[in-house]
C-alpha cells in the first residue's frame, strides 16, 4: 500500500487542524487566561475548525484507494530519525472525525457545566492541549510521533484529572493515572526501540507491510506484546485498570471526553493502526484476546456493585474496551473499530447525562439522585435511557450492531470459551446498565418536594442558568442522534475501512437470536431486582457479602498496588538507598576525614619536647642504615 503525497490544500488544512488547538492552548494559558470570554472564543473556534476540517476530509476523501502521507524530518540522532507529519487513511479519518466531534461537543457542554468555575479559562486551555495531542496521535505518520503525542495525551489527562487540585483526592488520582499509564508506556517505549533497532524505520505503513517479513516471529511477537503493554496502560486493561475509576475525580466533561471516548480508546486505535503487524503474530492476538476477556468480565463485575454513577460508567468503559480488544484479538479488524466508534458516541452521552444530574443534584450517588427526583429532568433521562439501551445492546441502537459484530468474530474462533465469555459479559453489561436505569426511573422513597439543591459536588456556582441547561441538553441531543444513527452505518463503515473491498463476514442467525435473548435475560434480572414494584433495589449480590466486597474493593487490586508502592518502593528501596547514601557512602567519606585527623593527632606525639628522643631517633636511623649497608 504505497502512500500518495497529498495535495497542498489537504496538507495545510490537516496541519492547521493539528496546530490550531496547540496555538489555542498557548494563547489561552499564557495570554488570555485572566479574561474568560476571549479564551472561550479562541478554544471553541479552534475546536470547531478542527471539526470542520475532519468532516470535510472524511467526506472529501471518502473514495480514496491509497493512504495519503506527508512527513517532514523532526529530529535525527544517530540512526534514529523521527519524522513529523500525518497519514490519512480510512481508520485515521474515522477516528479523527470521532475525536474532533466529541471534543467540540464536550467544549460546548462545558460552557454550561463549568460556568462559574474560577479556573474555567485554564480548563479550556487544557482541553485544547488535549485536543492537539489527541489529533496528533490519531493522524501520526510514524510510531515515534504517535508515542510522543501518546505521552502528551497522558500529560493532558494528568492536568485535567487533577484540575481541582485543591482536592487531595483529585491530585492523587491525577498522579496515579499518570504513573500507571507511564508504566504501560514503558513497555510501549521498549517495543518501539526493539522495532527501531531491528527495522530501522518506524513509519506505520512500513511497519504494517514489512514487519511480518523482516522480523523473526519471536521478535515480532515480543515487540507486538511490548507495544500492547502501552495499550494495557492507556486503555486501562487488566493489570493497570484501577486508575480509570479514580480518574472520575476530574470534571465530568473531562470524563466524557477523555475517559470514555477518545483517550482510553487510543490504545484500541493503536492496535487497529498496527493491525497488519498484529495479525501476523497469532500469540500476540491470543494474549490480547485473553487480557480483553479478563478485563471485560472483571470490570463488569465491579460495575454491578458501584453506587457512584460515574464509577459505574468508568467500569463499563473498561469492560467495553476489553470487549473491543476481544473483537480485535479474535481477528476481526472491523468489529473492534466499529464498536469503538459506537461506544465513543453512547458512552460520551452517558457521561454527559450523568454530568447534568451531578450538576443538578450535586451528588454522584445515583440512588440519592433518583430519590431527589432525577426522573423529572426530561431530556437527560430520555438520553440516558437511549444510551443505556445502546450500551446494553438493545436492538435498534448502535450498541447492538457493534456488539453483534464482535460476537460474530468471537464465534469464528475455534474454542467456544471466548463466545461464552462474550455472552456472559453482554448479560452483565445489560444487568448493571438497567440496574442503574431502573433505579433512576423508579426511586424507592422519592422525596415529594422537588427542591433542587443546585450545589455542585466541588465548586460554588449560582443556580444552573437556563443557558447552561440549554447548551448541555443540545449536546445531549446531538449525541443521542449519533447513537441511534451510527448503528445503521455499519456496512458503509466496513466498506470504507477495507478500501471498498469488504471481506465477507459470515452471518449467523442463531448468534443474533442468542445475543438478543441474553440481553433480555439481563434486563429481566435487573427489572426483577430493581424495576419491580416491590423490588428491594439491593441486587442479588447482597446474599454473597464476601463477593460483594471483593467487587467493591476492585478485586483488591488497589490494595495490592498501594502495598506495592508503600512497602516495596518506598519502604525497601528508597529507605535502603537513603540509608546507603547516608551511612555507607557518606560514612566512608567522613570516615576518611576522621582518619586523617586521627593520624595527625597520633603523629603529634612524635614531636614531644624531649630533645633526646629526637636524637635517639636520628642516631638510631643512621646506625640502622649503616648496618643495612653492612649486611647488604
Amino acid at each position: 500500500m504505497t502512500a500518495v503525497a497529498p495535495g497542498s490544500t489537504i496538507v495545510w488544512l490537516t496541519l492547521a487542524a493539528m496546530g490550531l488547538p496547540f496555538a489555542a492552548f498557548l494563547a489561552i494559558f499564557f495570554v488570555t487566561r485572566p479574561r474568560l470570554l476571549p479564551s472561550l472564543v479562541i478554544s471553541l473556534a479552534c475546536s470547531a475548525f478542527s471539526l470542520a476540517v475532519a468532516w470535510w476530509l472524511l467526506i472529501h476523501l471518502r473514495g480514496i484507494d491509497a493512504p495519503l502521507m506527508f512527513q517532514a524530518l523532526w529530529m535525527h540522532g544517530g540512526q534514529a530519525s523521527i519524522g513529523f507529519g500525518f497519514l490519512l487513511d480510512p481508520l485515521s479519518l474515522v477516528m479523527l472525525a470521532i475525536v474532533t466531534s466529541i471534543s467540540f461537543l464536550v467544549q460546548v457542554y462545558s460552557l454550561g457545566y463549568m460556568a462559574g468555575d474560577p479556573g474555567m479559562a485554564k480548563y479550556y486551555s487544557f482541553l485544547s492541549l488535549f485536543a492537539w495531542s489527541m489529533i496528533g496521535l490519531v493522524v501520526a505518520s510514524n510510531l515515534m510521533q504517535l508515542y510522543i503525542f501518546w505521552e502528551l495525551v497522558g500529560l493532558s489527562s494528568y492536568l485535567l484529572i487533577g484540575f481541582w487540585h485543591q482536592k487531595f483526592s483529585a491530585s492523587q488520582a491525577g498522579k496515579k493515572a499518570f504513573v500507571m499509564t507511564r508504566l504501560g508506556d514503558l513497555g510501549f517505549f521498549l517495543g518501539i526501540i526493539v522495532l527501531l533497532l531491528n527495522l530501522g524505520d518506524l513509519s506505520i505503513l512500513g511497519l504494517n507491510s514489512q514487519a511480518a517479513a523482516k522480523l523473526s516471529p519471536a521478535l515480532l511477537t515480543a515487540s507486538a506484546v511490548l507495544v500492547f503493554c502501552g495499550v494495557v496502560g492507556k486503555s486501562a486493561q487488566f493489570p493497570l485498570l484501577t486508575w480509570l475509576p479514580d480518574a472520575m475525580e476530574g470534571p465530568t466533561p473531562v470524563s466524557a471526553l477523555l475517559h470514555s471516548a477518545t483517550m482510553v480508546a487510543a490504545g484500541v486505535y493503536l492496535v487497529s493502526r498496527l493491525y497488519p503487524m498484529y495479525a501476523a503474530s497469532a500469540d500476540a492476538l491470543a494474549i490480547m484476546l485473553a487480557i480483553g476477556t479478563v478485563t471485560m468480565l472483571l470490570a463488569s463485575t465491579m460495575a454491578m456493585v458501584a453506587r457512584d454513577i460515574k464509577q459505574v460508567w468508568a467500569y463499563s468503559t473498561v469492560s467495553q474496551l476489553g470487549f473491543m480488544l476481544m473483537g480485535l484479538g479474535a481477528g476481526s479488524y472491523f468489529a473492534g473499530v466499529f464498536h469503538l466508534t459506537t461506544h465513543a458516541a453512547f458512552k460520551a452521552l452517558l457521561f454527559l447525562c450523568s454530568g447534568v444530574f451531578i450538576h443538578h443534584f450535586g451528588t454522584n450517588d445515583f440512588f440519592d439522585m433518583s430519590r431527589q427526583g432525577a426522573r423529572h429532568l426530561r431530556i437527560p433521562m430520555v438520553c440516558i435511557t437511549i444510551a443505556g439501551a445502546a450500551l446494553a445492546g438493545v436492538f435498534p441502537l448502535a450498541g447492538f450492531f457493534s456488539k453483534e459484530a464482535v460476537m460474530g468474530s468471537l464465534a469464528e474462533l475455534d474454542q467456544g470459551i471466548w463466545l461464552w465469555a462474550g455472552l456472559l459479559g453482554a448479560l452483565l453489561t445489560a444487568y448493571y446498565t438497567f440496574r442503574l436505569l431502573f433505579v433512576m426511573w423508579r426511586p424507592l422513597q422519592p422525596l415529594q418536594d422537588k427542591q433542587s439543591n443546585p450545589g455542585h459536588d466541588d465548586h460554588q456556582h449560582s443556580g444552573h442558568s437556563s443557558f447552561g441547561y440549554g447548551v448541555m441538553s443540545a449536546a445531549l441531543i446531538v449525541l443521542a442522534g449519533f447513537t441511534i444513527a451510527l448503528g445503521f452505518l455499519g456496512d458503509k463503515l466496513i466498506a470504507f475501512l477495507h478500501w471498498q473491498r469488504p471481506p465477507q463476514i459470515p452471518h449467523h442467525t442463531w448468534l443474533l437470536v442468542t445475543a438478543i435473548l441474553v440481553v433480555l435475560v439481563g434486563i429481566a434480572l435487573a427489572w426483577w431486582e430493581f424495576g419491580r414494584r416491590g423490588a428491594a433495589q439491593e441486587g442479588f449480590l447482597r446474599r454473597f457479602p464476601a463477593l460483594e466486597t471483593l467487587f467493591a474493593r476492585r478485586w483488591y487490586l488497589d490494595d495490592l498496588y498501594r502495598r506495592l508502592t508503600d512497602y516495596v518502593v518506598y519502604g525497601v528501596f528508597s529507605r535502603l538507598c537513603t540509608l546507603n547514601d547516608r551511612r555507607v557512602v557518606d560514612g566512608a567519606i567522613d570516615g576518611v576525614c576522621r582518619g586523617t585527623v586521627g593520624a595527625g593527632w597520633l603523629l603529634s606525639f612524635l614531636q614531644s619536647g624531649l630533645l633526646q628522643y629526637n636524637l635517639f631517633a636520628m642516631v638510631l636511623v643512621i646506625a640502622l642504615v649503616g648496618i643495612y649497608f653492612l649486611l647488604l
Binding site: 633526646q612 635517639f616 642516631v619 638510631l620 646506625a623 640502622l624 649503616g626 648496618i627 653492612l630
Partner: protein, 186 residues
C-alpha cells in the same frame, strides 16, 4: 736495671707502653666523664680524656696541636664548664635519678652505631694521597693560616666573637633577675 727488664725497655716497647698509657687516659677519662652521676667527676673525667687526646695528637705528629688542645680544651672549656657548675648553684646536690630504660636504650643505640661505623671503617680501603708533603713545621702552618686559609682564620675569629657576645647578652638578659639564687621563690 736488670737484664730481664732491660730487654723490655727497647724503644718500640717504650713507645707501645706510652701509647697504651695515652689510650688508658683517653678511655678512662671518657668513661669517667660519662658514667658517674656527680657532675664534678664528669668534668674531671673530661679533662683527663682531653689530656689523653693531646697525647694522641703528639703520636700523630703535631705537637703544636697537642699544646693547642691542652690550652683551649682543658684550659678554656673545662674551666668554663666548672664556672657554669658553680654559677648554677647546688645542682650537684640534685642528683637526677637515673632512668633505667633510657640508659639501656642509649647503650644499645651507641653500640649499634659503633658496629655500623666500625664495619664501614674496616670495609673501606684507605689509599693514601698520591703526593704527600712531609713538612710538619709550625711556621709553615702559620704561613698557610695567613695566606691560603686566611678566610678560615677570619671565620673562626668571627664565630668566636659572635659566640662571646651572644653568651654575654644571654647571660646579661638575666642580670636583671633580682634573685639569681631563686631560693625565696616557692
Amino acid at each position: 736495671m736488670s737484664p730481664a727488664i732491660a730487654q723490655y725497655i727497647r724503644p718500640e716497647v717504650v713507645a707501645y707502653a706510652a701509647f697504651g698509657f695515652t689510650l688508658v687516659l683517653v678511655f678512662g677519662g671518657a668513661l669517667l666523664a660519662v658514667l658517674p652521676k656527680n657532675i664534678i667527676h664528669n668534668v674531671f673525667g673530661l679533662a683527663t680524656s682531653l689530656v689523653g687526646v693531646a697525647g694522641l695528637f703528639i703520636f700523630l705528629g703535631s705537637e703544636f696541636l697537642a699544646m693547642m688542645e691542652i690550652l683551649i680544651y682543658i684550659g678554656a672549656i673545662c674551666i668554663a664548664i666548672v664556672f657554669a657548675i658553680m654559677l648554677s648553684q647546688p645542682m650537684h646536690l640534685q642528683i637526677p635519678k637515673r632512668y633505667r630504660p633510657k640508659l639501656i636504650f642509649s647503650f644499645v643505640v651507641a653500640t649499634s652505631l659503633f658496629i655500623s661505623f666500625h664495619g664501614i671503617v674496616t670495609r673501606t680501603e684507605w689509599e693514601p694521597a698520591l703526593v704527600r708533603g712531609g713538612d710538619w713545621e709550625v711556621a709553615r702552618l702559620g704561613r698557610l693560616l695567613l695566606t691560603r686559609y686566611e678566610l678560615l682564620f677570619e671565620l673562626v675569629s668571627l664565630v668566636l666573637l659572635v659566640a662571646i657576645m651572644g653568651s654575654i647578652i644571654t647571660a646579661a638578659a638575666l642580670g636583671g633577675d633580682k634573685n639569681p639564687t631563686g631560693d625565696e621563690e616557692t
